[in-house]
Symmetry: C2
Subunit: 458 residues, 2 copies
């Protein structure tokens, strides 16, 4: 995107969601002059381009609240570096200002010693809350939930509830999305938007605004974050309540965290498919990437050795007719591409929708039909091409036949691999492309060289 | 996801965002008995599993408002079928109840005649608004914006503004995310959340709540929807104002539309990479998929014929030493996988972040380093493997050397292709995998067979 495309500030931007204050990077850290930013996300972008020393300096000279906002938006590698190089007392003050879900995310990346030092410097209540959050799987609903929520009792009046919310908003930082209604046992019984409350009669009881019987969409605390993201975007909610197995409200997952997770999950699928680490980005230290990619490259090598062993079986045929070695990779390549198209459609299907076994296998059938028709079309082209090129109609027939079979196989394999992986309890995307290529290469070589050996009587 | 994982209703679910009414599929359409749904998204899921006839019947017997909500959530192919098979008067009534952005999305998919028939049946004001929306690029900010917004004037008092918002909320359906403040020329000068208003002193003027100088983050109406999504998720806004080139407020893009776009864009990247249609899903009619995929399969065929022609140059070497045909695909495969890892990282980088030319080329350098080290490691394995297998150290050396060169090339090509496509004004992902494979195959075959021919003196 060109910078000119965004309509932003001449001097400073207005913050729409939070308060209207401006975030300032102090000049003291070698900036020349104070630099103003309207939004912590922009502030974080700016900090990421500074040296570690200046990052630490800037954060400790900012108001603690601003530093907390900026830290929450920093890339995790940067945030960890900064916290480890900062005076522990200052770091703890910043952590204390962060919202508990963001604080837990950052602390989760620190090594245990450092984490404990910082936690011990917090007030007992804060550190206990953070330790609880840190015990949850960081990729579960509980691992991403925000615990700062406004709870209403069923027997509050509407005007009492509005007064209470207003008081909570004054002391707390964020504007609430919804107010959550619990019964006397703290079981979640309903969700009210500000609109519900503002439009109700003042004397009415909060409980009377809820539909009967009491029922509300929520997610269990141990649900995978990707599933939470699917549900929240399915229902277009701003926040999804998280409950324990007894239905007690534990916190909420908000749409902004879900957007980050949607980015993460989309990256994880695309990277995982080709055997890179699902969390990798251009900011990952490169040696870390080497370490994570090497095992899959080794798997790929073993797999391609398997396909090569198929070729080795037909070494004699190739020695007699070297043109086979020219045409052979084309079959494998074409089937590989067909399979990858099916693979991509299926991985996205699993990413977007709730899993439906029947619908998924109908989708494989759909891929088979597409593979058969595109395979037939390509086979015709290849038949004519190889015939003209070698002046041997039989070579053309071998090429066309092998292509049709291998493309059909590629389509079915590409469609099925994610479903098989899922049924095995594996990530449907991880290394799927590597296994697909093994199948389309191995089978392509076998069918092509096998047909050639028998039809051409080599 | 297992269905049991979601905590939902026994009888009906509560709607948190909108009103608390329940959506009912009437029994009259052969359902046996009335079926209740709490949310239009669930209702739409249910409708998608019915026959076209029952879909039409159910929608026309539902309250118009419910039908409008459900239609907005239906898959576009289904929505078009339903509208084309429904009495035009009923269809127009449902369209009139939809929010203008959803209505425009559906109408955009209809053929022109049908669209005009429906538009002519609407009230003049509504049809004019929809015609205006339909003139915008459906993938631009204006194409996805909602035009039902609450506008405040700078000189309103805070309590006047709250009364006004409350009145607007009663007549309108949705809860506003923010109120937008405009000056006397309708130029957008600020954004206020409900929180800003509820916490302000009642007599204060709305204009005084805004930071000075007036500046606000907004996007121009012609910005691509993917860029709007990046900005909204960067700032964690619930809604982003859309303005014309003079700064007049035209509408807002809300977080729920952005979530859909994030799904679309992630799918578009993964599908586009392998040459499938960016909009394809398992719901795309399969012949449509054949039509969209065939051109890229043809491109892939031509490209793989180019790589094959490289092999053809060395036909004589292969005839002398058929083992080369066995090892050759391994080099190409390994380099292809390395390149795809780089490709995936780079495409996700372009999808997640604002484009930064310098940072992007540093990322290519990073891939080159990763490619060199992983290439060296794999080359060592391949050298030893090929040596032992052929009992010929020179074959091992050829294999190792070719692998290192081709993997390095694959990494650099995978990292660069999206950037080059972007610089050419193309989609960075589209067919990138196909072009990458051409490079890694062609170069791999050339380097391997070339080295073999000269070193082994064939």
């Amino acid at each position: 995107m060109e910078e000119k495309d965004i309509n932003t500030s001449k001097d400073s931007q207005q913050l729409a969601v939070d308060d209207e204050h401006t975030y300032v990077v102090p000049a003291i850290c070698g900036q020349g002059e104070d630099q103003e930013f309207a939004h912590p996300a922009d502030m974080a972008d700016h900090l990421e381009n500074l040296s570690l020393e200046k990052q630490v300096c800037a954060l400790r000279h900012m108001p603690t609240e601003d530093a907390a906002d900026a830290l929450a938006e920093l890339d995790e590698y940067v945030a960890v570096d900064v916290l480890e190089n900062m005076d522990a007392d200052v770091a703890a003050q910043i952590i204390a200002e962060m919202s508990p879900d963001d604080a837990a995310d950052v602390l989760d990346e620190l090594d245990e010693d450092h984490r404990n030092v910082l936690l011990d410097k917090l007030e007992r209540e804060d550190s206990e809350e953070l330790r609880t959050l840190l015990n949850f799987d960081p990729e579960s609903a509980a691992g991403i939930m925000n615990t700062e929520i406004i709870l209403l009792q069923e027997d509050m009046t509407v005007d009492g509830a509005i007064l209470y919310i207003r008081k909570e908003m004054e002391s707390d930082y964020e504007c609430p999305y919804y107010a959550y209604v619990v019964d006397e046992c703290e079981i979640l019984v309903g969700v009210l938007s500000l609109r519900n409350l503002l439009l109700a009669r003042p004397g009415e009881h909060v409980g009377d605004l809820l539909p009967k019987p009491h029922n509300v969409v929520s997610v269990p605390f141990d649900m995978d974050q990707g599933e939470v993201a699917k549900l929240l975007s399915h229902y277009n909610y701003m926040a999804m309540p998280v409950v324990d197995h007894q239905g007690h409200l534990m916190g909420i997952v908000t749409y902004d965290d879900i957007m980050d997770i949607m980015h993460e999950e989309a990256s994880a699928d695309m990277l995982g498919m080709v055997g890179a680490d699902p969390d990798e980005s251009v900011d990952t230290p490169w040696l870390e990437s080497v370490r994570k990619r090497l095992p899959w490259l080794l798997v790929n090598m073993v797999n391609s050795a398997l396909s090569a062993s198929v070729v080795y079986m037909f070494e004699g045929s190739i020695a007699q007719m070297a043109i086979l070695a020219v045409l052979m990779p084309m079959v494998a390549n074409q089937a590989g591409n067909t399979g990858q198209q099916a693979l991509a459609v299926m991985i996205r299907q699993l990413a977007n929708d709730r899993f439906d076994n029947k619908k998924s296998w109908i989708a494989v059938l759909r891929e088979a039909k597409i593979g058969f028709i595109t395979g037939a079309a390509m086979a015709l082209v290849a038949f004519v091409g190889a015939w003209l090129f070698t002046s041997n109609m039989l070579v053309g027939a071998v090429m066309g036949g092998a292509l049709l079979c291998d493309m059909l196989l590629g389509a079915v394999a590409g469609g099925s691999i994610p479903l098989i992986f899922k049924a095995m309890g594996r990530d449907p995307a991880q290394a799927s492309s590597i296994f697909l290529t093994t199948i389309t290469d191995g089978a392509g070589f076998f069918i092509f060289l096998g047909l050639a050996t028998s039809i051409l009587a080599l």
